[in-house]
C-alpha cells in the first residue's frame, strides 16, 4: 500500500507535489520572487526606456495599478498559507501596511527630519541649539508675521463665517437660491494666484499726478467721489485687511455651502413649531438655527482658522510680504528659498506646525463626536 502511494507521487502529479512541505516552501519563495522581478523589470523599463510616450504611459498605468494589485494578492496569498492563528494576526497589516508605510514616508519622516534640521545652521552642518527658535520667536520680522497671522485668523475667519452664514440663511429663503450660491461659490474654483491677478485690478494704484487715470476699481470709485487715490497695498496696517478681503472672497463660498447644507438638515417641524409659537425670524435664527448647526459651525471655523494660519499664496502674490504684510508661511518661504537658510526655515515650519496642531486636534475631536470617523 505504502509503496503504491509513493509510486503515485513519483508520477509527477503536479497538484500532489504542490501540497507537500517542500513544494509549498518552493512555491512561496518563487511567487514573490516572480512578483518582485516583474515589478523591478517594469520599473527599469519605465526609467530607461526610449519607447514612445504613449507606450510608457500605458505601461506605467498597467505597472502601477497591476503592481499594487499583484503585491496585495501575493502577500495575502502568502499569509493565508500560514497557520490560522497567524493569518488572523498578520492579515490586517497587509492591507493597512502600505498606508502606514506611505504615511510615515511622506509625513512622519519629513516632520522628524525638519525638527532635526531646525537645530542646525543654514547649511545643516553645525549644531546651533535653540538659536533658530530664538529667531523664530523674538525677531522683529517674525513678530510682525505673528501679528499679521493673528489678524488673518481673527478677522478673516470672522468675516468668512459670518458672511457665509448670512448668505446661507438668506439664500434659503429665496427662490433663486442656486444662482446666488453658485455666484458666491465661484471664486472657490479660482486659484490664489489667479485671485491675486483679479484683485490687482481692484487695488491698483498709479500714484498722483496730472493726466493719470486710475485703472484700479477702488481708486476709480474714490476719485469718482472726489477723493484722493490710495495705495491700498502699501498703507500699513490697513493693507493687511485688504489682503484678508481676498481670502474672504475666496473662502466664503466654502463656508456658505457647508452652512447651507446644515441649515437644510434642520427639521422643518422645529421651525414650524417655533413660528406657531410666535417666534420672530431673528429669534429662530439665534435659538434654533445656530444651536442646530453648531457642529458645522465649529468645523468650518476651525478649517478656516487652519487655512489662515498657513496662508501663503495671497501675500506672496500681492505684496511678497513687504510693507508690513508678512505672514509666517511667507517668511518660511523667504528663509528657505531666498536666503537658503534651512535651519531658520525648519524652525519656522515647526512653529507653524505646533500652532496648527491644537486646532487640528479640536477639529478631529469634533469629527469623532459626529461619528465621521
Amino acid at each position: 500500500m505504502q509503496k503504491t502511494n509513493g509510486l503515485d507521487g513519483e508520477k509527477f502529479n503536479l497538484i500532489a507535489w504542490f501540497t507537500t512541505g517542500i513544494g509549498r516552501i518552493v512555491v512561496s519563495l518563487i511567487v514573490p520572487a516572480i512578483t518582485f522581478l516583474v515589478l523591478w523589470r517594469g520599473f527599469i523599463f519605465l526609467r530607461d526606456s526610449d519607447a514612445p510616450k504613449l507606450v510608457i504611459v500605458l505601461v506605467a498605468i498597467l505597472w502601477g495599478v497591476g503592481g499594487v494589485a499583484l503585491l496585495y494578492w501575493v502577500s495575502n496569498w502568502l499569509v493565508e498559507k500560514l497557520p490560522r492563528k497567524w493569518v488572523v494576526r498578520l492579515q490586517p497589516f497587509i492591507f493597512v501596511g502600505p498606508a502606514i508605510a506611505i504615511l510615515s514616508w511622506f509625513l512622519a519622516i519629513p516632520v522628524i527630519r525638519t525638527f532635526f534640521i531646525s537645530f542646525f545652521d543654514a547649511y545643516s552642518r553645525n549644531f546651533i541649539g535653540l538659536k533658530n527658535y530664538i529667531f523664530a520667536f523674538t525677531d522683529r520680522i517674525m513678530l510682525e508675521a505673528f501679528r499679521n497671522n493673528l489678524l488673518w485668523m481673527v478677522f478673516g475667519t470672522l468675516a468668512c463665517v459670518s458672511l457665509g452664514l448670512l448668505i446661507a440663511v438668506l439664500a434659503d429663503r429665496s427662490k433663486f437660491e442656486t444662482i446666488y450660491k453658485s455666484l458666491i461659490f465661484m471664486p472657490m474654483a479660482i486659484s490664489f494666484v489667479g485671485a491675486g491677478v483679479i484683485w490687482k485690478f481692484v487695488y491698483a494704484y498709479k500714484g498722483q499726478g496730472t493726466g493719470i487715470e486710475e485703472i484700479g476699481l477702488l481708486n476709480a470709485i474714490i476719485v469718482g467721489l472726489g477723493g484722493q487715490p490710495q495705495a491700498w497695498l502699501l498703507n500699513q496696517p490697513w493693507n493687511n485687511f485688504f489682503l484678508i478681503v481676498i481670502m474672504v472672497w475666496l473662502q466664503t463660498g466654502f463656508a456658505m455651502v457647508m452652512f447651507s447644507s446644515a441649515i437644510k438638515g434642520i427639521p422643518s417641524e422645529l421651525l414650524e413649531a417655533a413660528r406657531v409659537d410666535g417666534a420672530t425670524e431673528i429669534q429662530i435664527f439665534w435659538n434654533i438655527t445656530i444651536p442646530q448647526i453648531q457642529s458645522t459651525l465649529i468645523t468650518v471655523t476651525t478649517t478656516i482658522v487652519i487655512f489662515s494660519l498657513k496662508l501663503f499664496d495671497i501675500v506672496r502674490v500681492m505684496t511678497g510680504g513687504n510693507y508690513g504684510t508678512n505672514v509666517i508661511a511667507n517668511e518660511f518661504y523667504i528663509e528657505r528659498f531666498t536666503y537658503s537658510d534651512a535651519g531658520k526655515a525648519s524652525a519656522i515650519a515647526m512653529v507653524l506646525l505646533i500652532a496648527v496642531i491644537p486646532v487640528m486636534i479640536y477639529n478631529l475631536r469634533q469629527f469623532r463626536e459626529r461619528k465621521a470617523f
Binding site: 438668506l170 429665496s174 433663486f176 483679479i198 493726466g211 486710475e214
Partner: protein, 142 residues
C-alpha cells in the same frame, strides 16, 4: 393658508424683496472683480494700463479735438493768456487742466518747453470696439 390676510402677504413680499436685495448686492460685490478680469482679457495691454476695464462700457469721456501752441511772447513762469481761450492761467493751473466756459478742457502737455496745450471735449462713447480675442489666440497657440 389660502385665506391669507392682505397685510401678511404684503409683509412676505417685503421680506422677500429685502432678502433678494441683500443677496443681489453681495453677489454683485462677489462677481465684479472676476468680471473685471474677464473684460481685461479681451483688451490689449496698452489699453489695460491706460484706462480701467470699465471704460469698455458706454460712458462720456474727454476726447482730444485740437492742440494750441502757446506763442513765444507768453512767459511760461507767469500768467499766460491762451489764444482762443478767455482769461489768464499759470502753468500749474494748465497742467492740472482747466475747464473753459464752452465745456472744453485745456491741459498743458508735457513740460514747460513744449508750449503745447491739448483741447478736449466731452463725448459720449459707446461700447469699446478695440476688444479682441488676440490674447486668447496668443495663449492658445503659444
Amino acid at each position: 393658508m389660502s385665506a391669507q390676510p392682505d397685510s401678511a402677504r404684503k409683509q412676505r413680499r417685503l421680506s422677500s424683496l429685502i432678502v433678494n436685495g441683500i443677496l443681489i448686492f453681495i453677489c454683485l460685490l462677489w462677481t465684479i472683480p472676476t468680471l473685471g478680469v474677464l473684460i481685461t482679457s479681451f483688451r490689449n495691454s496698452e489699453d489695460i494700463y491706460r484706462t480701467g476695464w470699465w471704460t469698455v462700457f458706454p460712458h462720456s469721456a474727454w476726447n482730444e479735438v485740437s492742440r494750441i501752441t502757446v506763442p513765444d511772447s507768453e512767459d511760461v513762469n507767469a500768467q499766460m493768456s491762451i489764444p482762443g481761450v478767455e482769461g489768464k492761467y499759470t502753468y500749474e493751473q494748465l497742467k492740472a487742466g482747466v475747464e473753459t466756459s464752452n465745456g472744453q478742457k485745456i491741459t498743458w502737455y508735457g513740460n514747460k518747453r513744449t508750449r503745447t496745450i491739448i483741447v478736449e471735449e466731452k463725448k459720449w462713447q459707446w461700447f469699446d470696439t478695440s476688444v479682441t480675442l488676440k490674447n486668447y489666440q496668443d495663449v492658445m497657440t503659444g
